[in-house]
Amino acid sequence: MMAVTTPEHSLDDLTLGHAVALEDLVSRAALEEMAKSFSALFHVPLRIFAEDGKLLADAADQIALYTYLNASKSGRAALQDVVSAVKSIDPGGEEAVYQSCVTGGGYRIAAIQYDGRRIGRMVLGPFIEPTVTEPAASLLNIDPELSKVELYTLFQSMPRVLDSEVVGLARHLARTLDLILFSGHRALLTSNMHLASVRESFRELEDKNDKLQAAYDRLKELDRLKSNFLATVSHELRTPLTSIIGYSEMLAEGLAGELTGEQREFVQTIRDKGEQLLQLIKGLLDLSKLESGTMSLKKAQTDVRAMLRDVSQTLTPSARKKGVELVVDLENGLPMLWADSERLRQVFLNLTENAIKFTPNGGSITLSAKLTSMDAAHQDDSDGMVLLGARRTAVEFRVADTGIGIPANERERVFDAFYQVDSSSTREAGGTGLGLSIVRRLIDGHDGTIRIEDNVPKGSVFVVTVPVKRATIS
């Protein structure tokens, strides 16, 4: 019945059932401390037992008379009888029950109750009323071999308290314990409720997590399907578009007869728009290939200087048209890069085109490249560099403009597909929002990094770092 309470007990066990044990409500050490202080104050030995008979607190010094009696066989037997009698007493109500002792003294036994149920017992004594000065005949006659003088002397040293006082003490102790037990029960319930609530909240969170995981898995699958769809559609769009461009070219070249000036102009527009559309579709196709991981980079030794000059030559006309200065600043002694030159060129074409797009008339764009080391570029990732590998030399490219700049909180998101800082700028500046996501993926494909910094006093700098792989490949 008095099972030890563990947190596994349900709330109902603790509030409705019988699972509450004395030991669960108070600390044994504290109970003993209290019993000792009580005993010292009132000069009455005190023992507190759990309902199952276990001694929980012992504030009773060995009494010399009992030690002396225990040495004799019949003395021991007589004391045993008293102990059994004390144990068999069933204190029911408020009042402590008296049990006499062979020595002429006695005990008071009282119930410890909580919430209307007995959960333990307290035993006060042995004690002798102060009025009793002579030992009982029963004590002197226990064993003829025991010294009567010794018994007489030891009897005088027994604790002396009025019985009525002990009854009052027992009542007081019962009330004190009730208060302590109430506090203990409250604390036990609180901690159990805490545990139960946490467990319940945990269960709820797990449920939600499972649902989120399922939703996430579904979204991932949808994303994969979207990429496939994108790849298929782009491919299917490209075929007829190639024909449209081809035929409009033939028309423009007069293969189907001479065109009037206006006709030529219209056909040229059809061709230009077709080309524009083709670039867009190519971008989509690249993105879907990059997303699905099916794009293969054709890496070879690449001359950085030649590549950047080519980019600059290609874009100088459009920069000039917009009244933007395009400067190329290359460090001497740049090494060859192990890269896909076509794709890398695409990266810088895109970045530079963007820069032109967002730089107002009179501004300038600087394309630069210099030798650096990869770990220096990765300040955040420098932990354990000594373990993770030797410094890798890298080429750092910077595309700096004096345009509108990119707010710090947007700098990560601009690399998401279809994302644009300000969608209203699209109408003015054009573009699909695909370029930078392709750029990021292409640089990833080269084990490189890309980040955005502020340009002083205004504009932004796209910093691309690509490691120079040791040219061990012939």
Partner: protein
Amino acid sequence: MQLDFVNRELTIKLVYYGPALSGKTTNLQALHDAAEPGASGRLMTLETKDDRTLFFDLLPLTFRNQGSLAVRLKVFTVPGQVIHSSTRRLVVQGADGIAFIADSRASETQHNAESFMDLRENLKQHGLTLKQMPLIIQFNKRDLPEVRSEAEIAADAAKGREPVYLAVAMRGIGVVESFVGLLHLTWSALDAEHDLNRKFGFNAPAFLEQVAQKLGSKKPVSEILGACVGGALDVLRPEAE
């Protein structure tokens, strides 16, 4: 409900449910104050620093019937604040009867309704429905201004199944009536299920009378039960008479 055959003790769990600050704890305090010494244990409040009930209040009441069956009533409250949903669910588990304490103010109508839906949801989580649960509704704070009118409440109550009581728990008005009504419904339901009256020679009307007396009520039980507006106490009344 827990039945201890050895000690012939029956423990019944009653739960006071309702929105935050509707007066659940006040109801228990009023019951505690009304109870004769010896019939009621200490009111235990598991509270937070800011004095709002975090887990529950627990009021133990003990009554011994002539048939020598001791009935222990454990009255609980739930925390009303929305965030303590999991705690409410834990406390309501194993309830034998529920008193729903509503705030009479018209402005609180929405909160009452939300809390009631929350009760239904929490019972559902334990595989229970409101129909199975002995339930009374108390409209508390009748003394405040801008409360829903008695006529309005009576009209709505007449359409419902649950007995509805009007109360001012702060002044102890309607508290014992609500409690006795709840106990009556709960006992009838437990008896219908477990045949307690016959098995233990239990005199339910006398028991209710005794509970009412020990809670300081001098009115006859029929009058106490009749204090409700609407609801279906009638269905169970023939047995109580």
